[in-house]
């Protein structure tokens, strides 16, 4: 192929690479890349605005990520086409590479797909207090492959989406109110009615305890070491911590004042003689 002007001396290796044709191809690739990336940027900013209003953070992040990946893949294909690369052979090779990568990235794909299931179930959102496999914390971020929890002692824990699909997840803050469950064991000779009245008055005087739903009291069972009582007091999510502390403090104080005893594990040993 003859060039109208030569950039490098004839028969030089550089003259074979840097031809006018190559320059045109590179320019075309750069233009396609530029236009493509700008178009992706515009589309993503539009999606961000729309999804902020109509979707939750998790779904919106996932939609944005998918659009980003799809867009970038399209731009790469288009720029290769602009560069005159034969895509048939490349796609064939990509298929084989895809299978190999697919096997290698099984876990990541599984986590990615699990993310979709989690998204459709909507069991938690950023800022919720959840517990997974004994790990408890506030949902810090929800990403494509994992969920990050910030524990109460300020550690960041990454939980793969697959784990969240497979195991039980407890969301403590989903509903506006939560019940504090108190289990008490008192000696067999205790006056249950008096204890019930005492517990009810503790809940009634507590500023954090909700009047409705009413506190719940029941006798769970008569066990070997005493009578097991259950007392449930409702708090708003915001007041749960303070309510828990104040109820337990007041309960202990009132039990001491009213001379109500807690039962302890005891073994009676009888001497036949």
């Amino acid at each position: 192929m003859e060039n109208t002007f030569d950039l490098f001396p004839e028969n030089n290796i550089l003259s074979q690479i840097f031809t006018m044709d190559t320059l045109l191809k590179v320019t075309r690739i750069v233009i396609v890349l530029l236009i493509g990336l700008i178009a992706i940027g515009i589309i993503i900013s539009i999606i961000k605005k729309i999804s902020k209003k109509s979707l939750d953070t998790r779904t919106s992040n996932l939609v944005i990520r998918c659009t980003q990946y799809l867009g970038i893949a399209l731009v790469i294909i288009m720029s290769l086409q602009a560069g005159g690369v034969n895509l048939t052979a490349l796609l064939g090779a990509a298929g084989i590479v895809g299978i190999a990568v697919g096997f290698a990235a099984q876990t990541s794909v599984s986590n990615f797909i699990s993310g979709f299931f989690l998204m459709s179930e909507k069991i938690f959102t950023t800022g919720d207090w959840i517990e997974v496999e004994g790990i408890s914390g506030i949902v810090y971020s929800i990403d494509t492959l994992s969920v990050k929890l910030k524990t109460f002692d300020n550690r960041l824990i990454r939980i793969p989406n697959e784990t969240l699909i497979k195991t039980n997840v407890i969301n403590y803050t989903r509903f506006p109110v939560r019940r504090l469950n108190i289990n008490i064991v008192v000696p067999h000779n205790s006056d249950i009615d008096f204890i019930e009245n005492t517990l009810q008055s503790i809940a009634k005087e507590n500023a954090y305890a909700l009047r409705n739903p009413e506190p719940f009291f029941t006798v769970s069972k008569i066990a070997d070491n005493g009578i097991e009582l259950f007392f449930g007091v409702w708090f708003s999510q915001d007041d749960f911590g303070n309510g828990n502390k104040s109820i337990h403090k007041e309960l202990n104080k009132r039990f001491v004042d009213e001379k109500i005893q807690f039962a302890h594990q005891a073994i009676a040993i009888y001497n036949q003689n």
Partner: protein, 262 residues
């Protein structure tokens, strides 16, 4: 009781007692500004105000953490006004009653006001004059946390003996459009939508509850026909946070949403 207050002298504390509730105002002058400290307590502490001459520090038997401080100009006006709590008010009726189908009843209930300390009409802080209790209105999965009050629902004349100067009378009209007998045992009021007017009593606008099979609607009606709550004679102490125009726009938007759903 309500209105502008005079601040104490530099380094001293002023006590304003409201039933068993006390408000304390402490002042420290710093050049052109004043460090205003406000604290509250339910039982009046046997406190003696001490002023350390070197550090100019106010000492009271109130824990240090209870004081809320702010810096104001010497020319700023400080006033106390009644106010509604920031949460919705859930009123459990001492005397629940049945309302016949397609009928309405008018009466009144009362709640206790909060005390707001304002600087140049801007609310600085709010205090409860009684120990505040909370409750849930609605279901445990999507209900609202409200302040809890107990009140009689009375249709007779207002009796001064039933009120303190901190009670707010709420004239109520309940319309039963459900087509069957309705038991009325609790009411939920949104204070943001109500004003506080002072005549013989503190009172709000009339609240109209319309109950039908779709749910309960709360509307505000300015016309209050109760003796002692005369809107013409009364003084407006607190304006509702949501203006009638805003309320109208909200209602129109709700209506629009309902129409477009169909």
């Amino acid at each position: 009781m309500w209105g502008q207050i005079e601040l104490p002298q530099n380094g001293k504390v002023k006590n304003i007692s409201i039933e068993n509730f006390s408000l304390y105002f402490g002042v420290q002058e710093i050049e052109d500004q004043i460090e205003l400290s406000v604290a509250s307590g339910f039982s009046s502490p046997n406190s003696i105000v001490k002023v350390k001459s070197k550090k100019q520090k106010i000492e009271l038997s109130i824990p240090e953490g209870s004081w809320q401080r702010c810096y104001i100009n010497k020319s700023d006006n400080i006033n106390i006004t009644p106010s509604y709590p920031d949460k919705a008010m859930f009123v459990e009726l001492n005397n629940s009653f049945n309302l016949l189908a397609d009928s309405e009843i008018s009466g009144w209930i009362s709640t206790n006001c909060e005390v707001s300390v304002n600087i140049n009409k801007n609310e600085l802080m709010q205090f409860s004059i009684q120990k505040p209790f909370r409750t849930l209105f609605g279901s445990s999965d999507n209900g609202t946390i409200c302040r809890y009050y107990k009140s009689d629902f009375t249709t007779s004349k207002l009796d001064k003996n039933n009120f303190t100067e901190f009670s707010i009378v709420h004239p109520i009209t309940i319309r039963n459009q459900t087509g069957h007998i309705l038991n009325v045992s609790e009411l939920c009021i949104y204070g943001d939508e109500l004003s506080i007017i002072q005549d013989t009593y503190l009172y709000s606008e009339t609240i109209v509850f319309t109950i039908n099979n779709q749910g309960t609607k709360m509307n505000i009606n300015g016309d209050c026909g109760i003796d002692g709550c005369n809107q013409k004679k009364g003084t407006l102490l607190v304006k509702s946070k949501i203006s009638p125009e805003e309320r109208f726009i909200n209602k129109s938007f709700e209506l629009f949403k309902t129409i477009t759903k169909f």
